[in-house]
Symmetry: none
Subunit: 245 residues, 2 copies
């Protein structure tokens, strides 16, 4: 586990105190990379106060306009989610997530996303993710404060990094680098365009087609060569569709 390759992304956080609390929680557990997507107030004295000796984490936090910018160069994106969505997504608990991403962080960048206090991540934001993470809670009160959620997840990451025996994984010694999130988003645009042109996707009645295909390909983590093959197939199909018009 290389904690330097993990970034915590807070999306549209409303209360600056939570940003400071999250920064402290991160530094306590050895994580230093914080991204803020459209924070309501930053910098803010309340967040500075809550950060205590983690002010360096706040100061070097990157503020960006869109979630896509925050994860563009990441190879694996995890979204925290309090509830099951309409389409089930591969999901783990906090401990399972730490186990799952520990091997990835050796060479690749991993982002963990936290949504807005009052509603969490939206369905559109969750579709960007390779994996969903649910923190186990009491059934009576499952809504965690966002800084607390950051604390628990960073804690499990630290524990995993400190104490776990290493194990070899299926994807060690892969023959091609894995795709970034940005590459995947371009592929999805190409896929959607092609399915429309060949008449398989009806834009006025898209049903759950694209979310299901995204879930499929996010689950597999395409390498660059596989991505090229799939895009080659799409281009060939487009050519046929255009000749037919």
């Amino acid at each position: 586990m290389n904690l330097d390759n993990i970034r915590i992304v807070l999306v549209e956080t409303t209360h600056p105190g939570n940003i400071g609390g999250a920064a402290r929680a991160m530094k306590n557990m050895g994580l230093l990379n914080l991204f803020l997507v459209n924070p309501k107030s930053h910098p803010d004295p309340k967040s500075t106060w809550r950060a205590a000796s983690a002010n360096d984490v706040l100061e070097r936090a990157k503020v960006v306009d869109s979630l896509e910018d925050a994860v563009a160069d990441c190879h694996f994106v995890v979204g925290t989610s309090a509830r099951q969505r309409r389409i089930p997504w591969p999901s783990v608990d906090a401990r399972g997530c730490a186990l799952e991403i520990s091997r990835l962080t050796e060479n690749e960048r991993v982002a963990i996303l936290f949504g807005r206090e009052d509603r969490g991540l939206t369905n559109e934001q969750l579709v960007l993710c390779n994996l969903h993470l649910q923190i186990p809670t009491s059934d009576d009160y499952s809504s965690l404060n966002v800084a607390m959620a950051v604390q628990i997840i960073c804690y499990d990451l630290l524990i995993q990094s400190k104490y776990s025996g290493e194990f070899e994984h299926i994807e060690s010694n892969w023959d091609s680098p894995f795709s970034t999130n940005e590459d995947m988003q371009r592929f999805y645009l190409h896929l959607e365009e092609t399915l429309t042109e060949i008449g398989f996707l009806e834009p006025t009645a898209p049903r759950q087609l694209m979310p299901r295909l995204k879930r499929l390909f996010n689950r597999v983590r395409l390498d660059e060569m596989e991505l090229n093959i799939l895009r080659g197939i799409l281009s060939e199909s487009q050519k046929l569709a255009r000749k037919n018009r």
Copy 2:
């Protein structure tokens, strides 16, 4: 593990926000018994605000004058501590503590103590304890916010009570059965046929195309609905290719 037999004891807490944060952290994890030893300000609007929907925990919190009163009827007392004391004490980490006390809570009352924000529990207070608990942290910044410490410990207690070490698997509660090997072999024939018809696969020079695509789809484990979507796309492309001949 019987979480009802565990009480959280906050000793001389200075900031009411931390009391509220601790109450919420407790309720999120299914713990409801809070004791406050000489809190600086209680009740307080700041703690009410931070408690959110855990106000019932705050309202039924017992306020006492001395730590001795807070633990008098307990059978086992755990003290949280950031550092090793002069006299080594039996000590565990948060996870070890959850394991250690899980069997006690069936019939006995257990208290977990958290000291004042600026100095933690004093040596005199720690001597009251059966066990000391240290939360693992980064060496660079080991001082946790007290509500965060409560959150981590309650989290490990919940995990211990819910799963006793087990964690949920990524693919539990999937919405469609996974495909059989037989279905997959049929899909691969369909895929190969289609790629040939649209001119992407040259049968006399197939290179590593099919093995790479098989590795991709075997890695993902397609469910039946996904398989149907992919075969639908293949059929549509075949139609186009045949029209074009």
